[in-house]
Symmetry: C2
Subunit: 732 residues, 2 copies
């Protein structure tokens, strides 16, 4: 069933965006694909750098930074580029002139300080006195820079080593990774990595440096991966090709070992959290207690079905208590650190899918559950912040629709929930320090982008900061509609997006292509502008293809059961759902069922190849990019969560191993990879090609030498020219 | 001008092979491609194992070995399989039963001894007494086995180490490579290689073990390649892909160092030939003096334009004298060891192209030239042997035609030359011990294969051993014709082969494909059966393509100047000649000049890609296999001979670098490689694909994972299905 957005229209085609075809421009891939020469002009514009400084809204530009009073929308110039550059000249060391003010940050909500990142220094400049107040030196090659909350220090990595800098003197930088003290004996080949994201960025891990709330302690990851097998990547750009080994723990194989260390800024001592055995676990979501004395880690067993929230003493690293435990017969996936209540440091919010949807639970630090404060068949997407006075936590959620993201204020004490802002579309919000105002950046199927200041008390827009124009104005944009169909289980609603060829003629027969992703943690359509229709889909609709995308079971924003029905059998349920999409296509009188294609990348490459081989009489042409072919070649963390190990789930691995189906290939299937893909390593696709050759079937292959998992820059345009040509050659 | 083989036919189409089309079978690739299920049945049959035992002709079969008297052709059974197996049972050690007698060898011309190779032993069995006379033990993994001329010992390699075995006791084997004595400290990764072919098999080098004529001394190569950069080949068949480094000295880069060692079987001492500096030279064509006291090496400078024939003392390795020197402004390419006259050990035959064609020169061991014994605008292809009584050397040469190989007897004293055998086709011959008879294995355009015993005195056939049937009898074989056109220089004759579509209709317009190799040391057409037409060409003619092949300047059997006009500019002259082939095609009324394709492998892949990019408006479709793209990625020995180094010939390398032309691509070009090609390493094709992407052009690519430079086995059939499909998709 298609989605109703206007009751006065017939049910069949309710969410259609129509454009008059006459005198309209046609798209090129340069318009529609990132990396294209006209892509910027065809993209929805945004404000860059808009942010809160305490309770005032900051609007940076090239030459000046404005401040806006959220109550009345009044704006004034806070400082100019000239002010800043004059201020930079007051420094005792030579600092670089700024050329634009987009990148300024306001680290102190109460003081007129801007933070500027320069290659050699972090600069704290008082824009009222126009004086440099403080410098923190950065050594050459510094990356993953994290400034302490009190702005007295910064931690950063150089290569795989970790440093902390406290002043403008680079030579006084402290090395926190002792093994790297002597360059001659320092670990090589990423055998040991400090201060960086571990566990391959799963479990919400984005980095490896965690400052305590007041900046007196620094927690960081130390990852020993000397025992992890290298994947032999090859660089062909050198005089003679060279090996670039890349640590890659494959499902069921030996994984790396992670510890969490805590450095005390005052004593200069380091302790390691005493996590004990087994060491082959995941140490996720490192969280500091507000008083800096305790540190919390959500620890997950290798099998990923038993999570423990563990409290440690930050002073000596002692393991004090397991605060909370969660198990699940399939998997537990902790993705959010603790959020302590600003008004009560003995309580924190814990996010869990334990009732089937991600919801908020208030716990005491002794592990006592105070209450579940959100509930329902929808999920909390993010905690935006608090209104301390009203004891409200501000969240975004899918309550209105899994296609949407809307803002709510939830009273932590009563659980009472009220919407903030409008009920349409997809919202991305920033909350003022007092929690009274949002910078509300959103789009709907009809609105490319609006950025408003919204009062959280009554949802009133106090100021419109920005309204984006339709970047495709003047182009012949195809009709885009959405709706729902039933999943392969016969009961679950699935959302789809259907794009019709431009200058659509219902009496014609068009070829159709399914664009698919289908894996966890992603959703291909939502209620933002034009239902998030992809540029290439638009281009293909212009060439005369019907384009369909269905978010199958296993995908994001629909809850745990919707996602974990794919457990130990990736591809199986997902394909059933995609075949319901095929039924939809075949039901359309204007679709030529003999000319069906499918395309997808990564998990979508797996789905594409699998669909082509499992339903060889349905699909005529397929292009699979960077596909998983055999889950045993995928990494431990993601792979074992959904598939367990090749040893414990040999049947599941075999069923999902596309090499087993290589002999089924009938139509045209091209596989495309980045030559140095570090995510779905080339072994996937090359072993599949080998299997097809052995079975006497004939896939096609293309490689982007030197590229990784996704093509970027100009290569992305070339890629889509290539994919388009393949469908034009064989499906048209 | 086309070749005349029958004066009664018109000049236009004189060498046509026609077959009636009605009721004839069509070929499949299984019939025509090596590895195909019916390839054996469609191949020209041969006799396996036919050989001389002294002056008697031996004809082995599964169950028995016959002996034939060459004078009268009378044949009788020499021994049976049962005889041999009975004999094997007489051994004190357990020997394997033989299942067939094809592999027997007759090492002693005067005695009834057969040599049998078994995995653990070399067996010498007296087939008259039916007793095992001698065993030489082989250790597990033995390769490159060379039995000494007196049959008292065998040298062989295991891995990169060299051994010599003298009796049936494997534990008494002597290790000749001392660095490999301790497995823990033994060199790894082929850093040091003993007893194997060096210099990447160039300069006629086929192996690295050289027994002295009586078996008292053993010369062998020792190659240190620890200083050579590895090419990082990757094996994807392991649980996780693994690195398989391969020593690959690229043009202009550091090469390996070779020495020649001599082991004395009696004293057990080893000496190294004292070749002196520079060590970065080529040590080729190791030759023993008949008395075993001297050893000769043809030494070539790295620049390959100065060869020295050097005599060494085999007892102490002392460098005694430079016997002969040859220089050339382009290159000198020694490819033949010395051939000592059987009746005068103070004289040897030296082969040289110094007058423009490979000819024979008699030298004294002191370096005095006795005389040049062959001369003319044709070349000696091989020295077959001697008729000692008549003082004749028996050779094969191109004297009749560069498309042929015929036998001659040349009187060494007088230079008087007379033909032996018929004047047609391509002959491969074996000479009896006394030089009075040939086993003459030949084919002509009309004769698939004949094997005769021929008297060298009068060319009379005393016995026909075998006549092969036409293996394509009953198939609809297309018309095949040959002729000559003028080269790009306007004067040189080039040979071509043209295959017309089956059921040819002169009023139709057919697409045409040029199959090209074009590099040195190869010739694509000759006067053997059906002018050596390739199976795939036949298949494509059946699908309706005109197939053309031209042996351009630079190719084999035409002399030095014909070959070396390509020096420092590979591709340039060769392409001019191929474009003369295009002119021929365009002159044919039945060829559609808008549908021209080109295909080639290796050097032919280089030519194909180059033609496609240099003449983008001429060729519509091309398939290039295992191509050289940039000669700086090719190896030192072959690469520098024809191109010098990238440093000394930067202009030439740049002009021949196909990446520079990547932006020219207009039609469809597919590159196909073996994923682990050790000859044209994957860097060639991958860097070209990268260059095309950067230029925004669109080549296609296919890879045979795990394969080397040429596809073998079933993959070869798959490859030709793939190539065929590409032309059918885009040229038909």
């Amino acid at each position: 069933m298609k989605k109703r957005i206007n009751l006065t229209l017939a049910f069949i085609c309710l969410s259609v965006i129509m454009t008059m075809a006459q005198n309209l421009k046609s798209f090129t891939l340069e318009d529609l694909i990132p990396g294209g020469s006209n892509y910027y002009n065809c993209s929805i514009k945004n404000l860059y750098g808009v942010q809160w400084w305490g309770n005032q809204c900051i609007l940076p530009d090239v030459e000046e930074v404005k401040v806006i009073n959220p109550k009345n929308g009044k704006e004034s110039v806070l400082f100019t580029l000239e002010d800043i550059n004059k201020g930079l000249e007051t420094s005792t060391v030579k600092l670089r002139k700024m050329r634009a003010l987009y990148d300024v940050r306001f680290p102190e909500s109460e003081r007129p300080i801007v933070m500027l990142m320069q290659p050699e220094y972090i600069v704290f400049l008082n824009f009222e006195t126009k004086q440099v107040e403080r410098l923190i030196a950065l050594n050459k090659g510094a990356a993953n820079v994290e400034v302490s909350p009190n702005h007295q220090a910064a931690a950063y990595t150089i290569g795989d080593a970790l440093y902390v800098s406290r002043n403008e003197n680079a030579s006084q930088t402290t090395l926190l990774s002792p093994e790297f003290a002597n360059p001659e004996t320092a670990p090589k080949d990423h055998d040991l990595v400090y201060g960086q994201a571990v566990h391959r960025n799963e479990f919400g891990i984005m980095g490896g440096i965690f400052w305590s709330p007041k900046g007196n302690r620094l927690a960081y990851y130390r990852m020993d991966q000397s025992m992890v097998t290298d994947y032999p990547q090859v660089n062909i750009d050198t005089r003679i090709a060279t090996l670039e080994p890349d640590k890659y723990p494959m499902a069921g194989m030996t994984s790396h070992k992670v510890t969490v260390c805590v450095y005390d800024m005052n004593s200069g001592k380091t302790v390691t959290l005493q996590a004990g055995d087994p060491t082959d676990r995941y140490f996720t979501n490192v969280s500091w207690a507000p008083d800096e004395e305790k540190i919390y880690v959500i620890e997950l067993n290798r099998d990923q079905n038993h999570a423990q929230l563990v409290r440690y003493n930050a002073a000596d690293g002692a393991r004090e208590a397991v605060i909370y435990e969660e198990t699940h017969p399939k998997y537990v996936e902790p993705q959010h650190p603790l959020t302590f209540l600003p008004w009560d440091s003995s309580k924190f919010i814990y996010q869990s899918q334990r009732d089937g949807f991600n919801h908020l639970y208030v716990y005491k630090t002794d592990g006592t559950l105070v209450k579940q404060i959100t509930t329902g068949n929808w999920l909390v997407q993010s905690i935006v912040g608090f209104n301390e006075k009203k004891k409200e936590v501000i969240i975004t959620s899918t309550e209105i629709s899994p296609m949407q993201s809307n803002t709510y204020a939830v009273n932590v004490n009563t659980g009472k929930k009220r919407p903030v802002g409008n009920s349409e579309g997809v919202h991305s919000v920033q909350l003022s320090a007092d929690g009274n105002y949002l910078i509300d950046n959103y789009s709907t199927p009809e609105i490319p982008r609006n950025i408003d200041i919204v009062a959280t008390s009554n949802s009133k827009v106090t100021k419109n900061l920005f309204t984006a124009e339709d970047p495709w104005k003047g182009f012949n944009v195809p009709e885009i509609e959405t709706g729902t169909i039933k999943a392969g289980d016969g009961k679950t609603d699935l959302y789809y997006r259907l794009i019709k060829p431009v200058n659509f003629d219902p009496n014609k027969k068009y070829p159709a292509i399914i664009y698919v992703y289908g894996g966890p943690h992603a959703q291909m359509l939502s209620n933002n502008f034009r239902y998030a229709a992809r540029g290439w889909d638009i281009y293909m609709a212009q060439l005369g293809y019907v384009m369909l995308t269905v978010d199958n079971r296993g995908s994001e924003n629909r809850g745990l059961e919707f996602e974990n029905c794919t457990f130990r059998q990736l591809g199986t349920e997902e394909m059933k759902d995609q075949m319901e999409g095929v039924k939809l296509l075949k039901s359309l009188p204007y679709v030529d069922a003999n000319r069906l294609g499918v395309h997808g990348w990564s998990f979508g490459g797996f789905m594409t190849t699998n669909l082509m081989l499992t339903h060889p009489d349905v699909f005529k042409v397929a292009v699979a990019g960077g596909p998983v072919i055999d889950w045993k070649y995928y990494e431990v963390m993601y792979g074992e969560r959904y598939m367990d190990t090749p040893e414990s789930n040999s049947e599941g691995y075999k069923n999902a191993d596309l090499k087993q189906k290589a002999g089924n290939l009938k139509g045209r299937l091209e596989l495309i990879i980045g030559g140095n893909d570090p995510t779905c390593v080339p072994q996937h696709t090359l072993s599949f090609i080998r299997a097809c050759i052995d079975k006497g079937t004939h896939p096609d292959l293309f490689i982007y030498p030197g590229q990784g998992h996704n093509m970027v820059g100009r290569d992305r345009v070339h890629l889509h020219e290539h994919i388009t040509r393949y469908f034009e050659d064989f499906l048209k």
